[in-house]
Symmetry: C2
Subunit: 608 residues, 2 copies
């Protein structure tokens, strides 16, 4: 075995943990294995220059390659590129000033409101006869009598544990049996143990998990982790491309998701034994579900763009390596179809799709999923929005992390900014960008077509006096690294494209369904981005239709919420299958005059 | 990894195979791993001196310890003690002159007579729609449509195999689906593959296996292997004692059985992929079933002598390491109770226990199991016969192997011997011993109480002229190693004890059931020993009751036969459970006046 080097990681809250790296490995590789997101997006290949990480201790000299990516001030502060840094001596990695952990902002609207619970996993007290030395009967036979009419499926280890209690002459034994599906008993124990279920929503960027006590439906743990596949590309299709190069790449991407989920389980585990997790429900986009299961993803990479599975898919969770009870099933909920995944199915589970309601569900990510419900009829589509709303592809864009500008507003005709965590600013995230554009429109510094006007200088400095293409929204004095935060004409173009993609998709569904915007009862915004967005500004720039503000409802992490519902309510799986069956998938690429619609939606104007 | 040394093994049929040993390991350890029975019975601890093995090549010098166990002639012939021999250079091991493989004499009486077959595992041709590029539907959804109403449970690898065939534009796909229990589809393939089931009977000495084509019920493979646990003790209770010393011993004994069964599967595998084995039925004595499953066996080692399970027990076969399809269940049939195991249950499955018949089933091994059926009522017991009938504990006793005397008869008042394989004699096995005693009684050289008379010298040489305690039945000229084969007064005592144990058990059951011997319709003899026994001689020495010869039926390896029946006939599992429920277990130790009965049966006299 090769030599191990100690790595001390200082977390943002000041806590320290020790890990070990193989001597000579890059810091990037080690952090990836541990599950720390360096922010890099090129798979550690030395190209993107984003895996800046602060190190302390006996650090090695900065290489020429690193100098090409690091500013002199960053070098002075101890920043290094993790993908170039080879760990050969004990090292301290300080994450508290460079916290790339996604801001945990999990909101479970429906779970918190309803707390319905009607589960098919229970714990029941049973009594079995003691061992009679004069007429010995095996433990198994006495258990079979005691659990009648349930079906006993204990593994040998469980029997071996119980037989230790089974001394001859002892009277009746009081035991606790776990009962699955009102039918099967996979475990019997002396002490009553809690039984848990795990709900997981795998997004391309973030994986959210909830641990639920299956007996009473209570939420025991709730957490986000960064999807570590990110290091192999921000967007899904580049991960598909990477995985199809060879099998080991595909295995690696699967393993990353499994590690991600196992680390979630681990973080929930203060009082929870992974063996007590008896059910796992997973939602996510189709590609993530395929990666997780180890299914071939190459179908997503080329025409006709279709995966291997779309309906419900059940596997023994431990067959892929999830650290849960060996009897636990992992249930992937049905996908609605095409690129509209099980996350969208899950979002819908809590919405009134089988009432007389007309509503839109919009979940904006790199792909935007949109479902339209018109009086029990359903249409769904997926729009390639690109990463702009998640801060990707913008010059100073970030996801919603510590230090992101998430709100922009006007006060006395001056621009004001809110920074997440009230720290020095690092960049601007999607909700901030929407606000900024709406405010720029309001003070008439941006025309309808998204061109920055020359009066911009009333409000902001510009980098180049001649073309106003780059405006300084926060100068270096108030930023994390001393460099200004810039917003550019090109950034605006990116937002236009993203916004047009979403809005056009909405329009296509409305047209197909022959529904007027005025007849919409609600617009539900799901997902992390939906949680941050200012509806009024989203309407002002034309992202959302111009409906009464009170019709726009933020439903938080509705995908995880739906997964929890499926976890704790036994009838929900059938509802999910029905949803899949009744939803019509609209393929935008095959929609007549889609380009016209798209062009029409490029402008920043409120419209219904 | 440590250095590997090549070991060439020459098998009795002249075939050679190469194996690798870790340098420095004993030859005993390597042969044990490979699955070659050295004949040793002390677990390689250097005590028993029975692991004599012929080696050739660059052999190391004979050690002092070996010289204590080996005769000069054996050393000259290249014999070594495998437990002392450390493998440090390439070596050839010649098994053809020292064949300790049990003689394969598997007889499947019922299977061959009936060949009934009504199974719940099938292969069905299915058709699924091709992938339509214009309206792509996932493979899973098209499969679900194609296999309706069956339940699809393919693993991701299977999907990934099928998706390779699934090119857009290709018309209908013709595929083959395996269907379990008329319900679940665990596998779909392009080419029709055979599906198999495995029936296993684990005896303390021998493990028998049969591979059956589940579609047509045909026997594809049939084989015996030596139970490699033997190296940790001939009798079951010494293995129990060994296993309770620590967990690793228990794991080791389990692993030996699993390796044994996997090597059986391997030997069947010319045209069979282990992945195509979808069902495993195992029978055997209770202790063996516990060892195989990894269940606690300590209950068998002390009062009240009860195991953990006695009813049917089902596990995923691959959870303990059997090399079969991951969906395959391993089904242990119910044990009748006490030390009467699932092997006896299996024997009964083919017998007319639910008719108006009165019969005895006798399966003689180290433990003898006896079942009495009287007009649909059933009683069963287990008698500790000891190893005499299997050649153990006799001075020149052997199991029924090449070179064993298996028949003794009188011709013109001279003793004649049959040797298995017509080779030089090595020893005498159980059937030979019964014949020999019957013949000695016939010529009046042995009195009723088992004492050798002085007229023995009319027929045989004796070693000591004064006491006739050791008689030479074959002199050194006609034996394998040049040393005479001896039969002793002490050997006769051992046989008396074994015979009395069996016959007393029979008598107890007859008394409990209030049945006269004359009312017996049949006596069924099961197992390897039953296959060799001469019924007339067994009656003469009082082992079997004095009934008409045509009532005694040899039913061959009835335990394996019953396991096969359970494998290929779906209703049989319920029959086995019924059998368990209706059979009354008689505990001889708690039977009044058992000792009197036992003493009464010590003599060598025919009696009813």
């Amino acid at each position: 075995m090769s030599e191990q080097v100690k790595l001390t990681i200082v977390f943002p809250d000041g806590s320290e943990e020790n890990y070990f790296s193989e001597k000579g490995d890059t810091l990037w590789k080690t952090l990836e294995i541990i599950g720390v997101d360096t922010g890099g997006i090129c798979g550690g290949t030395g190209i993107c220059g984003k895996c800046k990480t602060k190190v302390e201790g006996a650090v090695s000299p900065v290489s020429q390659e690193e100098k090409q990516h690091l500013l002199p001030d960053e070098i002075k502060m101890g920043e290094r590129l993790a993908c170039y840094y080879r760990v050969d001596k004990p090292l301290t990695v300080v994450l508290n000033k460079n916290d790339n952990l996604a801001k945990s902002n999990l909101k479970l609207k429906f779970y918190n409101e309803k707390k319905t619970h009607e589960n098919n996993i229970k714990v029941k007290k049973i009594f079995i006869n003691g061992l009679d030395a004069n007429s010995p009967v095996t433990l198994q036979e006495r258990l079979l009598e005691g659990v009648n009419p349930y079906f006993l499926m204990l593994n040998p280890d469980n029997y071996n544990e119980l037989v230790k209690l089974d001394r001859a002459g002892r009277p009746t034994l009081e035991l606790y049996a776990v009962i699955l599906d009102d039918k099967v008993i996979p475990n019997i124990s002396k002490e009553k143990e809690n039984i848990y279920g795990l709900a997981i929503d795998i997004g391309s960027t973030t994986i959210s998990g909830a641990l639920i006590n299956l007996e009473n439906g209570e939420l025991v743990g709730l957490k986000n982790v960064t999807n570590m596949q990110r290091v192999y590309g921000e967007d899904i299709l580049s991960r598909v491309a990477y995985s199809t190069i060879d099998q080991s790449n595909k295995d690696r991407l699967q393993k990353l998701l499994i590690n991600n989920i196992n680390s979630l389980i681990d973080s929930f585990q203060k009082n929870v034994c992974a063996q007590n997790i008896y059910k796992v429900v997973v939602v996510g986009n189709p590609v993530m579900l395929h990666f997780l299961s180890g299914l071939d993803v190459s179908g997503f990479g080329s025409s006709p763009f279709v995966g291997v599975i779309a309906d419900e898919f059940v596997l023994k969770a431990n067959s892929i390596g999830l650290n849960v009870n060996e009897m636990a099933n992992m249930i992937l909920l049905p996908q609605l179809g095409g690129f509209v995944g099980a996350d969208t199915t899950a979002c819908m589970l809590n919405l009134p799709y089988n009432s007389n309601s007309n509503f839109l569900l919009i979940d904006i990510g790199t792909n935007g999923e949109i479902v339209l419900c018109k009086n029990r009829e359903l249409w769904a589509t997926s729009a390639a929005a690109g990463p702009a709303f998640e801060g990707g592809s913008l010059k100073c864009g970030t996801r919603a992390i510590q230090g992101s500008i998430d709100r922009v507003f006007l006060q006395d005709r001056k621009f004001r900014f809110n920074v997440i965590g009230n720290t020095l600013a690092k960049g601007i995230c999607g909700s901030g960008v929407i606000d900024l554009i709406a405010c720029l429109r309001q003070v008439d510094c941006l025309d309808e077509n998204g061109v920055i006007k020359n009066n911009i200088k009333t409000y902001f400095d510009v980098l180049d006096e001649n073309n106003y293409n780059e405006i300084v929204i926060i100068n270096g004095e108030s930023t994390y690294n001393g460099y200004p935060i810039i917003f550019t004409q090109e950034d605006i173009r990116q937002v236009q494209l993203a916004k047009a993609a979403i809005r056009s998709a909405v329009e296509v569904l409305m047209t197909v369904a022959k529904l007027d915007y005025k007849d919409l009862d609600n617009i539900y915004l799901a997902g992390a981005f939906g949680s941050f967005i200012d509806p009024e500004n989203a309407i002002k720039i034309g992202l959302l239709p111009n409906v009464a503000k009170n019709k726009i409802k933020n439903i938080g992490n509705a995908a995880l919420d739906g997964a929890i519902l499926a976890l704790i309510n036994k009838g929900i799986k059938e509802k999910a299958k029905d949803l899949k069956n009744i939803t019509k998938i609209i393929d935008l690429a095959n929609t007549d005059n889609f380009n016209d619609i798209y062009i029409k939606n490029i402008g920043f104007t409120a419209k219904s």
